[in-house]
Symmetry: C2
Subunit: 313 residues, 2 copies
């Protein structure tokens, strides 16, 4: 049976290190603060934003939520983002997706000042990560997946990592990170047009799935000993349940865990790591506003996956 990788446990340790970093900055009079922009009242988005705000507070960070009306004009939204960009009390800004359809989400994401773009969605940050420049903020989910692999001492050097999905916020940046100097993985990226998906997934030493199709990956699609990272998050309604929905991953957990060496569950795997790396990016953004150098930070805070040994924090 596969070892179950608990993103919740890893997150607890890393967040303890983040809390230390927040406290250290506090002595310089800086309170790292994350602002969330929430347009409309999508219930799932409201939950996500609330969870992020709570996570901030638990590590001593400030949080602010801007609730904006569903029918806001794009110029008003730009104005709100500009205000956060200019506010020295705000170090990180996230725009909760999805946005209402009338808003051009690319332009909205591009409006966030790159040095406060802790989601790493601005093209400049995408480009900096792509070229391996540590100045770029790496999106939280791929950063969290890299952190899981490091923390669990999963070898990547020369290993074949197969990614299912090609999203701009998870799969593509993850492919870029895994193939880069350091991790040195051979990377295959597959997607909905891939012919004979199983012929690819069966080659994987490390299989990362980020599609949003519960049950997509079954036991017959993986090779024995594979490490499986399930980044799928689909809300499945369960009218009898309490709460009335649950979050499902993309992997048939029961079946695959009989074949794999290690596997992340959903929930409790990639999800908590995503929020943890968002906190880490926000702390880093705040740190850059002070005179402190990177080496003064606990190792657990490094988001780019370069210094991956388990830290003492």
């Amino acid at each position: 049976m596969a070892r179950i990788i608990s993103g919740t446990d890893i997150s607890r340790e890393i967040r303890a290190g983040i809390a230390e970093g927040v406290a250290a900055l506090g002595e310089e009079g800086i309170k790292p603060t994350l602002a969330a922009v929430l347009v409309g009242s999508d219930p799932a988005s409201e939950v996500y934003v609330r969870n992020k705000a709570q996570a901030c507070q638990r590590v001593g960070m400030g949080s602010r939520t801007l609730n904006l009306p569903e029918d806001i004009e794009v110029d008003e939204l730009f104005g709100a983002i500009d205000g956060l960009n200019a506010d020295p009390q705000i170090h990180g800004i996230l725009v909760q997706l999805p946005l209402p359809r009338h808003l051009p989400y690319k332009q909205v994401l591009n409006r966030v000042a790159p040095h406060k773009d802790v989601d790493g969605f601005h093209p400049l940050n995408a480009g900096l990560s792509f070229v391996g420049d540590p100045e770029g903020f790496v999106p939280a989910t791929p950063a969290g997946i890299m952190k899981i692999l490091e923390w669990e001492k999963v070898p990547t050097h020369g290993k074949h990592a197969v990614i299912v999905g090609r999203s701009l916020i998870v799969s593509k940046p993850l492919a870029s990170l895994l193939m880069a100097p350091g991790p040195n993985a051979t990377v295959t990226l597959t997607h909905k047009y891939t012919v004979d998906l199983a012929s690819h997934t069966r080659m994987a030493d490390i299989l990362i799935v980020a599609v949003g199709k519960p049950g997509l990956i079954t036991a017959d699609m993986v090779k024995p000993g594979v490490v499986v990272i399930d980044a799928g998050t689909t809300r499945v309604v369960d009218p009898e349940g309490k709460p009335r929905y649950r979050i499902a991953g993309d992997v048939d957990f029961e079946g695959v865990s009989e074949v794999a060496a290690a596997i992340t569950p959903v929930p409790g795997g990639v999800g908590p790591m995503t929020i943890t790396m968002l906190l880490s990016n926000t702390l880093e953004a705040a740190r850059r506003t002070s005179g402190a150098t990177s080496s003064t930070l606990p190792e657990a805070l490094v988001g780019s996956g370069k210094r991956g040994r388990r830290s003492s924090s």
Copy 2:
């Protein structure tokens, strides 16, 4: 025997279209002009810069070369680039690599204004290409490879493209382009740490090699019917030859062409396409300074690989 794909022939047709575009802009009083910054006197770099300047002149573009001394201080170099950035007569700027070792090449490349960065090396352009935003300039070599595939009607949708090498200026952007919506290829990226390289290259429907190791890919490493794109460029000295060096690719052309369906030669394959796409990017940069819209341009000028049918130009 494999069909030989002539980048020279494709380039001739595309450059005819570029010349039309240049002439059209000329009627608006705009002369698309490329500036090359050449630091020191590396003979190979001098040849490359001269070739690019000649290519500009042949399509009616202006070209300017800034010859700067080997021992230039970084601030002086920044000043020279700033001058080109501010010069309305200059539409595209390239900094010929490699730079002397005392110069921080990342910072130098980042100094080029993104809207004149026709090499596509600025992180903002890397990020825009990465997220599929057509505003970003795609580096000329991967753009040229995509153009070859389109021009030759090589299907990519659902095909398995295997890339050998992971350079930031060829392989990584190419991987990003091939996996994107439109081309829809399944992509594997391999490199020097890949275990059993042949086991990957043998899976390829399309094999692209950009390493710089002559003879790396041999006939036993490819499957029958593969399309092989050789982006290797190694200067091999031949004391008896005239000239005394030749450019060698990464593929054993004779052996592989007995197995492959199609193959690009070196020279005469990817090389001319690289210069062609540099011209295309420069024309596009100049076009953006005028009021013309993209749809007025000949189809052959589109550098991002989105409108790939053979044009009438």
